[in-house]
Amino acid sequence: MKTFAQQGFPGRLIAVEGLDGSGKSTQIYLLKRWLEAQKLKVFFSEWNSSELVKSATSKGKKQELLTPTTFCLIHATDFADRYERQLVPLLRAGYLVLCDRYVFTAYARDIVRGCAPQWVRDIYSFAALPDLTLFFKADLEVSLNRILDGRPELKYFEAGMDLRLSPDPYESFKIFQGRILEQYLAMSDEFKFIMIDANQPIEEQQNIVRALAAEKIDLATFAAAN
């Protein structure tokens, strides 16, 4: 697998990954604001946000219709739609594309759900790798507390209840997140994740994120035409 730069795209893609509650969405949002302030061509895309597919996914989740296989496929459909209709054209047009979660989310979650690892990876093989992948690593307890403090009502799939890990949603969520973290860490070298200590203050993390973006990508070349 090759990155967008290696495939000759003029654009660059930055992805953030991490557990729910790791603070990655906050960080990529702040990065986006910073890049926009410099009048760069920026586009932001979120996991599970395709207008075509989203309603099916939320129906599947609400009515608990999803199996590990259909959970995998429906998220892959969502990703493919955004990839083909938005990400690729924008990257060809020389945009900086920021992704809150990328294929690694699927690798981790679907494998924890019991899908065959190579099957999942092959399904996503149409996607190029990000030019920069930031992994926000908080202590499991910290991530759990951020989620559990704020939103005490855990959703069925979010808590991994479909895996029957525990009848208690909180207990299930903890085991599930722990397993996902294991999967992420197991692939971190292979996909060159840059690890960011997400236990630090938001501002400290943002300093690191900005420095990394500026170091890895020649930002000035992404200036928007007036």
Binding site: L52, I74, D81, E84, W119, I123
Partner: protein
């Protein structure tokens, strides 16, 4: 172990119902996690063919025949899943589906029916009649230039059917049948997304010829039975019934 059937005194008009032979089952690839194939007692019969090839007519006749012969049946088909059929319809109306998305959308629809309808029905010992299966989806993907290995991996989730019949009709005949039924050609069945021709009629002919070519290629790999569907409905159905009878008693089809 199966009990040997003992002769039972039947009423004059009661015919003995044939208990289908248990076949060895497998998935094409990695399959569905946690499914024990040995417990899938029923039979999976697939009828493939283009729109207008007479699939639904043939399936309806087969259902009537199977049920009167004492078999419980279940029907499935493309774009009938609870999960995504509405969304897929809406997306197709907008003509905004790119090829990978189209492919994965249909795969999701297929997987949902496989897990929620086909596998439970087979576990319960029912006859599942599938109006098209993964082969149409694969042929469509190949015509759109999708990578063969990628497509094969994707459909490694599918169960190998007991029999697959392909109703073969020449593209020029398909046009006539489609017109007599709907009086218009469908955007997707004409492959208009491929930009083969500006004119939908010319596109339909080219697209259906490309599909037929892919089916011929798939036939070599997946060994389905090509049925000449230019013949009268009853003649075709008699051939299908004969072949399905053989499947039920565990004979190999050639």
């Amino acid at each position: 172990m199966r009990m040997k059937n003992r002769p039972v005194k039947l009423g004059a008009r009661t015919a003995r119902v044939i208990v289908p032979h248990r076949s060895k089952r497998r998935f094409y690839g990695q399959g569905i996690p946690g499914v024990e194939v040995a417990k899938l007692a029923g039979k999976l019969i697939v009828v493939e063919g283009a729109d207008g090839s007479g699939r639904s007519t043939q399936i309806q006749l087969l259902v009537d025949w199977l049920e009167s012969a004492g078999h419980s049946t279940v029907q499935v088909g493309l774009k009938r899943s609870t999960l995504v059929s509405e969304e897929l319809d809406r997306a197709q109306e907008g003509n905004i589906l790119s090829r990978t998305t189209l492919s994965l959308f249909y795969a999701t629809d297929f997987a949902d029916q496989l897990e929620n309808i086909i596998l439970p029905a087979l576990r319960a010992g029912q006859m599942v009649l599938s109006d098209r299966y993964i082969y149409t989806l694969m042929a469509r993907d190949f015509v759109r230039g999708m990578d063969a290995k990628w497509v094969k991996n994707l459909y490694g989730l599918a169960l190998v059917p007991d029999a697959v019949f392909y109703l073969n009709v020449r593209p020029d005949d398909l046009v006539q049948r489609t017109f007599s039924k709907y009086a218009k050609l469908d955007y997707w069945e004409s492959g208009m997304d491929l930009g083969l021709e500006r004119d939908i009629f010319a596109s339909f002919l080219k697209y259906q010829a490309l599909m037929a070519e892919q089916f011929r290629r798939l036939q070599a790999t997946y060994g389905f039975h090509i049925i000449d569907a230019h013949r009268p409905v009853e003649v075709i159905n008699a051939e299908l019934r004969k072949k399905i009878d053989a499947v039920l008693i565990g004979h190999k089809l050639n």
